[in-house]
C-alpha cells in the first residue's frame, strides 16, 4: 500500500495553548480577587465592575470556557490529528474556531462585569453572544467530523468518542438552556419560568460539568496518559464501557442541584438515583487511568508530567465519589447553599482540570518545540506547590461548609435558633475565607512558575509548525474483526455514531423535562401570587444586573431551621412569573425569599449603600451607585410586552399605563424614605430595587393571612 504524506497542524495547537495559559491566569486572578473581597469587602472600591457579584460570573466563565475550553481544544487538535492520522479537515475552519472562541471570551469579559447577564449560572451571556457560541461550536463540529471522515486509521480511538459526545451534547444543552426572548440588544428573558427554568438550568449546569469539564478531559486522559507513560491504556474494553455508561447516566443527574426545592419529588429522586449510579463509570474511568501506570510507578516518581496526571485522575475520582454522596438528600440538606459546594467544585477544577492541563502542557510543549523540558526541578516544584494550594483551598472550605450548616441548623434549649443573626455565622467562617485565599494564591504561584518554565523550554527549541507524517489511506473493502460487527456498525461512520450518542443523551433530557412542561398549561397558580409591578420588574432586573443571586438564595427549603429563620417554605406556584428563576445556589448572605416587609425602606436603603452601617462586620459589597444612577425607563414598556408574550398575565395595553404606575409607586417609596430622613428624588435605581426586595414573599404571606 502506497503511503500518503501529509502534515499535522501544530500551529493551531500552539494558538490554543497560549490562550489556555493566558485565560487560565486571568480566570484565576479574578477568582483570587473575589476571594479576597469576601474577606475585605472594601476591595471593590465602590466600583461596579470590580464588585464581587459582577466578577463571580466572570471567574466561573473564564475558568470553564476560557481556561478549560481552550485547554480542551488544544488537546483535541493535537490528539485528534494523530489518532486519526490526518491533518485537521480545514485550516480555515480551525482559524475561525480559534478566533471566534477568543472573540466570545472577550465579549464575555466585557459584558459580564457591566451586568449584561441572564443570571443563569455558566450561561450568563446574553443572547447575541449565545448565538455566536452556537455558530462557533458548529464550526468546531464540522472541522472535527471532517477530520474523522478523511482519517487514515480505520478504528476511531476511544478518546475521539469522548470528543464526539462533547460536541453533540454541549450543542444540545446550550441551545435548550439559552432559549430566551430578547427585550433589547443586550437584555432578554428566559422563555422558561420558575420551576421549569430551574430544571432546564440545572440540567444544563450539571451537564456543563459533565460534557465540558469531564468528557473532553477524559478523552484527553485516554490519549495523553498512555503517551506520557508510553504504554497502552490498562483496559480498552473498560474504556468502551466507561464511555457508554458515562454519557448515558450523566445527563439524568441534573435535578440533584434542586433537592428539597419546589421541584417535584419524582424528578428529585431521578436525579439522586442516577447520580449514585454514576459512581460506577466514573470510578471505572479513574481505575482505568491509574492502572495504565501499573508497573511504571518508578517512572511516576521521576516524571512531573505523570505526577500531575496521577493527581488529576485521583482528584477526578474524589470529586466523582463526592458528587453522588452530595446527591443523597440527607447529605445535600447539609452541603447545599454552603461553601462545601465550593470545595467540591474546586477539587474538580483545580485538581482534575487544572492538573491534567498542566501535565499536558509540560508534555506537549517540548514535543511542539522539538526539545526537552527546561527544568524538571521547577516542574516538580510546581507540582508540590499546586498540590499544597489545592489542600489549602479545599480543606478550609469543607470545614466552613460544615460549620455554616451546623450553625444555621442549631436550636437552643428553648427551641429558638441559636444563631438567629446570619452575621454570627459569617464571622465564624472568616478565618476559612482567609486560608482559602492563601490556598488560591499558592496555586497561582505554581502557575507562574510553570509559565516561566514553559517559556524557557520553548526558547531553547524551535517550533515545528507543520509536522510531516505519512500513513496509508483507508481502503474501501474491509472486514471487521470477529465480535466487533456491532460496534463497527455505529462507529465506522462518525455521523451515525454521533446520532446514537445524541439519542442516548436526549432521552434523559426528554424524560425529565417533558412531564414538567406538559403541566405548564394547567399550573394551579396560587391565587394571591400576582405579576410584578413595573417598578418591581425593573428592580428585579437590577437584582440580576448586580448579581445579588451570587450570594443570596430565594428558596426556603422545608426544614424547621429554615422556616424558623425565613418563614414559610417555598412553593412551585410562587415562581410562575419568574423569567428567569432566581433561586440561587450559594448562601453567602441569608435567603431573601421572604424579605418583603422585614425591614423598613430606610434600612434597605442604608444597607445597600453601605451594608456595614446597618450590619457591622458584614461582607456584603456596597452598592453606592444604585443611589446615584437614574432608573432607565426606556425598556419598561417592551419588558411588559415581552413578559406578556411569555405568558405573564399583564392586561392588554397595560404598557401605556406602566410608566405612570411605576412613577406612582416610586414616589410612595421616596416619600417614605424622605420622611425617615433619607434624601432621595424617587427616580434613582435603588428605589426600584427596594420595591423588589419589599415584594419578595409578600404574596404568600397574604395568602396565609387570608386562609387564617
Amino acid at each position: 500500500m502506497e503511503l500518503e504524506r501529509f502534515e499535522y497542524d501544530n500551529k493551531i495547537v500552539r494558538k490554543f495553548l497560549i490562550a489556555t495559559i493566558l485565560w487560565g491566569t486571568v480566570g484565576m486572578l479574578v477568582g483570587l480577587l473575589i476571594a479576597l473581597q469576601l474577606v475585605f469587602p472594601q476591595l471593590n472600591f465602590g466600583i461596579p465592575i470590580l464588585t464581587y457579584s459582577h466578577l463571580r460570573a466572570l471567574h466561573t466563565n473564564a475558568v470553564i470556557f476560557a481556561f478549560v475550553g481552550n485547554g480542551m481544544f488544544m488537546g483535541v487538535y493535537y490528539s485528534l490529528q494523530r489518532v486519526l492520522k490526518a491533518r485537521m479537515y480545514s485550516n480555515f475552519l480551525s482559524q475561525v474556531h480559534f478566533w471566534g472562541w477568543q472573540l466570545i471570551i472577550v465579549c464575555a469579559a466585557i459584558t459580564i462585569p457591566l451586568g449584561y447577564i441572564t443570571s443563569k449560572e455558566y450561561a450568563e451571556l446574553e443572547w447575541p453572544i449565545d448565538i455566536l457560541i452556537a455558530l462557533i461550536w458548529v464550526v468546531f463540529g464540522i472541522n472535527m467530523f471532517g477530520t474523522i471522515i478523511k482519517r487514515r486509521e480505520r478504528h476511531i480511538f476511544v478518546a475521539v468518542w469522548f470528543y464526539i459526545a462533547t460536541v453533540v451534547t454541549v450543542a444540545m444543552l446550550h441551545i435548550v438552556n439559552s432559549l430566551e426572548m430578547p427585550v433589547s440588544f443586550l437584555k432578554s428573558y428566559s422563555v422558561y419560568a420558575g420551576v421549569q427554568d430551574a430544571l432546564v438550568q440545572w440540567w444544563y449546569g450539571h451537564n456543563a460539568v459533565a460534557f465540558f469539564l469531564t468528557t473532553p478531559y477524559l478523552g484527553l486522559m485516554y490519549y495523553f496518559m498512555p503517551k506520557a507513560a508510553n504504554r497502552p491504556v490498562y483496559s480498552y474494553r473498560l474504556s468502551i464501557i466507561h464511555f457508554w455508561s458515562l454519557i448515558f447516566l450523566y445527563i439524568w443527574a441534573g435535578p440533584h442541584h434542586l433537592l428539597y426545592t419546589a421541584l417535584p419529588d419524582w424528578a428529585q429522586s431521578l436525579g439522586t438515583v442516577f447520580s449514585i449510579m454514576l459512581i460506577a463509570p466514573s470510578w471505572g474511568g479513574m481505575v482505568n487511568g491509574l492502572l495504565t501506570l501499573r508497573g511504571a510507578w518508578d517512572k511516576v516518581r521521576e516524571d512531573p508530567v505523570l505526577k500531575f496526571m496521577v493527581v488529576a485522575v485521583t482528584a477526578y475520582g474524589m470529586a466523582t465519589l463526592e458528587g453522588p454522596l452530595l446527591s443523597l438528600k440527607n447529605v445535600n440538606a447539609i452541603s447545599h447553599f454552603t461553601n462545601w459546594t465550593i470545595a467540591h467544585v474546586h477539587v474538580g477544577a483545580l485538581g482534575w482540570n487544572g492538573f491534567l492541563t498542566f501535565g499536558i502542557l509540560y508534555w506537549i510543549i517540548p514535543k511542539l518545540w522539538g526539545t526537552t523540558l527546561y527544568s524538571k526541578k521547577l516542574a516538580n516544584t510546581h507540582f508540590w506547590i499546586g498540590t499544597l494550594g489545592i489542600i489549602f483551598y479545599a480543606v478550609p472550605m469543607y470545614w466552613a461548609g460544615w460549620m455554616e450548616a451546623s450553625m444555621a441548623k442549631q436550636f437552643d434549649a428553648d427551641g429558638y435558633l441559636k444563631y438567629q443573626n446570619w452575621l454570627e455565622i459569617v464571622t465564624q467562617i472568616m478565618p476559612m475565607y482567609v486560608t482559602r485565599a492563601v490556598g488560591g494564591s499558592i496555586y497561582l504561584a505554581g502557575v507562574v512558575i510553570m509559565i516561566y518554565n514553559l517559556w524557557k523550554t520553548a526558547g531553547k527549541g524551535k517550533f515545528i509548525g507543520d509536522e510531516a507524517a505519512e500513513a496509508a489511506p483507508l481502503t474501501r473493502e474491509y472486514t471487521p474483526s470477529p465480535g466487533m460487527h456491532w460496534h463497527h456498525a455505529i462507529e465506522r461512520t462518525p455521523v451515525r455514531f454521533a446520532l446514537v450518542a445524541f439519542v442516548l443523551v436526549a432521552i434523559g433530557g426528554i424524560v425529565e423535562m417533558v412531564p414538567t412542561f406538559m403541566i405548564k398549561s394547567n399550573i394551579p397558580t396560587i391565587s394571591s401570587v400576582k405579576p410584578y409591578t413595573p417598578l418591581e420588574l425593573e428592580g428585579r432586573d437590577l437584582y440580576i444586573r448586580e448579581g445579588c443571586n451570587t450570594c443570596h438564595s430565594q428558596m426556603v427549603r422545608p426544614f424547621r431551621s429554615e422556616t424558623e429563620r425565613y418563614g414559610e417554605y417555598s412553593k412551585a406556584g410562587e415562581f410562575v412569573y419568574d423569567h428567569p428563576f432566581l433561586w440561587g445556589s450559594k448562601r453567602t448572605g441569608p435567603d431573601l425569599a421572604r424579605e418583603g416587609g422585614k425591614y423598613p425602606n430606610a434600612w434597605q436603603y442604608n444597607h445597600l449603600m453601605d451594608p456595614r452601617t446597618m450590619s457591622p462586620g458584614s461582607i456584603m459589597p456596597m452598592y453606592p451607585w444604585l443611589g446615584e444612577n437614574k432608573l432607565d425607563l426606556s425598556l419598561t414598556k417592551k419588558k411588559i410586552s415581552v413578559m406578556r408574550e411569555l405568558g405573564v398575565p399583564y392586561a392588554k395595553g397595560y404598557e401605556s399605563q406602566a410608566e405612570g404606575d411605576l412613577k406612582n409607586q416610586a414616589a410612595g417609596i421616596a416619600k417614605d424614605l424622605n420622611d425617615n430622613g433619607v434624601p432621595v428624588n424617587g427616580d434613582e435605581e435603588i428605589i426600584a430595587l427596594i420595591a423588589y426586595l419589599q415584594r419578595l414573599g409578600v404574596d404568600i404571606k397574604q395568602a396565609s393571612t387570608v386562609s387564617k
Binding site: P232, P264, V273, N522
Partner: protein, 58 residues
C-alpha cells in the same frame, strides 16, 4: 399544589425504576458485546496513540 398535579401524572413514581431498568438492559447488552470482542483487535486499538512511527520529526 403544582407538585400535587404533577405527581398525579399517572404513576410518575415508576419513572426512576423504568429508566433504571432501561439503563440496566443497555448496560448488560453492552458488556456482553464488549466481552466478546476479539483480543487481538482490542490490543491493536488500544495501541493507536502509541503507533506513530511515521512522523518524520524526531
Amino acid at each position: 399544589m403544582f407538585q400535587n398535579v404533577l405527581s398525579s401524572i399517572e404513576n410518575v413514581g415508576l419513572l426512576p425504576s423504568i429508566t433504571f431498568l432501561f439503563f440496566f438492559g443497555f448496560f448488560i447488552v453492552m458488556v456482553f458485546f464488549v466481552l466478546r470482542m476479539d483480543k487481538k483487535s482490542v490490543k491493536k486499538m488500544s495501541e493507536i496513540p502509541l503507533d506513530e512511527p511515521h512522523s518524520m520529526n524526531p
